[in-house]
Amino acid sequence: MSGHDLAVIGAGPAGLSAAVQAAELGLKVVLLDEQASPGGQIYRALEQASPALQAMLGPDYSYGAQLLGTMRQSPVDYRAGASVWQLNREREIGLLQAGKAQFISAARVLIAGGAQERPFPIPGWTLPGVMSAGAGQILLKGGALKPAQAVVLAGCGPLLYLLAWQYLQAGVRIAALLDTTPKANYRAAAPLLPGALGLPGYLRKGLRMLRAIRRAGVPVHKHVTGLRALGSTRLEAVEYQQQERWQRLDTSLLLLHQGVVPNVQMSRVAGCGHDWNENQLCWTPTLDEWGNTDIDGIMVAGDNGGILGARAAELSGRLAALESASQLQRIDQAERDRRAAPLHKQLQRERKARRFLDVLYRPLPQFRIPADDATLVCRCEEVSAGEIRRTVELGCLGPNQTKSFCRAGMGPCQGRMCGLTVAEIIAQQRGVPVAEVGYYRLRAPLKPITLGQLADAAE
């Protein structure tokens, strides 16, 4: 046990800016992160990246250098390679670092675990050779690794196009970009364009990237309505459906992406309340304007609280730090509000711009709720969409009952890869809103830990 004022979990943009801001206000801050170096996924391995690699990845990556530098200069107690496997309402944090488990506690805890990619359950998505687009980008950032042969990218959303652009800079051959953005989304998003124009930098960058992809001669197949990954022991081909017709592409590497969703494992295990967010089709922790959850002293910032992107994550991180300093009486409320006012205003602009992206890249139902009964939904326990549907026929009302009937969500990933799909399948079968079927009840440990390590921590 130790006397930290604020423990920040996650060293991405939200966690970094919160930790720096809180330390500046005189709080004793510990910053816990499971990666080997700070930056989260967005600024991953930036401190080690060569200038040439940074140029290849683009200015939004290098932008994080200042934040990382400020953190390194600050008195923040940053701990790399520190996995959090437990968090409870008493704000006790179970930590695993270099194979040693321990507990620490803090007056306040900020969860800034960021986002994960939305599950993309298509037939064959468990085959070796099928990975997420985020994985492709992580290999580029963290290891300077690029696909050795032509790659097929499929799905929709800013990250997919950014990766395509980055791959082109890296000289990677893109065999095809299978774009699943439905035509109807363009019409639905059009009225929200003024909101996006409030932050015109995003649109300009996006359009420039898409133009560059077209100019490079990448075959872009639009409005794809079906995807299948084929192969026996590894990926051999991708089939895609366009205007009712199925076509085949031979490839050894398929990278999938259809947006990101909050990583709610930590806030769930702590017991925080969550709401179904119909705009973003995901669960978000219930938060006030500062990032307070419904548990005293536990806060959430950044994409972990709802997807708004890296710049917004910095803003919400700083807001959470101001609130923490105010709660711990380092600054008064008037000072908090004075400093927060411009941040709230900027955050509001980010929210408006995000609505445009949410609507434009809202994934099609068939890519979230597999129509084919044989498609695997739970990768760990290999439970298919059909088996989930059968548990509903048997009377299961939500993911927890379904889990005990068919083991979906019971494997090592603890539902991270199937939770959203299972909840949406059950809701569809029952004909009720997803909010009504709920989510898995999560329990510690959130990360693999041996009994020996657990015993050592308890001593």
Binding site: E34, A36, I138, L139, G142, A148, R379, P448
Partner: protein, 108 residues
Amino acid sequence: MSLFQTLTDVQPSAQASVQITLQDQVHQVPANLNVAAALLLCGYSQCRSTPVSGAPRAPYCMMGVCFDCLVEIDGVPNQQACLTPVREGMVVRWQDGKASLDQLEAEL
């Protein structure tokens, strides 16, 4: 044939490397990689088979979410390869199928 290769033009050529063992094969890999990236670079198309059907699996998300890259590292099973940096002399083994107590029982 590897799915991934090093971008030589952005990586300093005199980059440090470490020696690791993957499934009894010794490999020299860049020191900045994690185990999952290293096994992809070395051309392995799977790092475990599932306990349920025995289907082959390989790293999927590379960010600690999917747990498809679970491997045995220096004798400790269920390690997330994508979150573990490579170290000189590291010994990595695939996890095939269900875990078994046979070996443990034999030792007892």
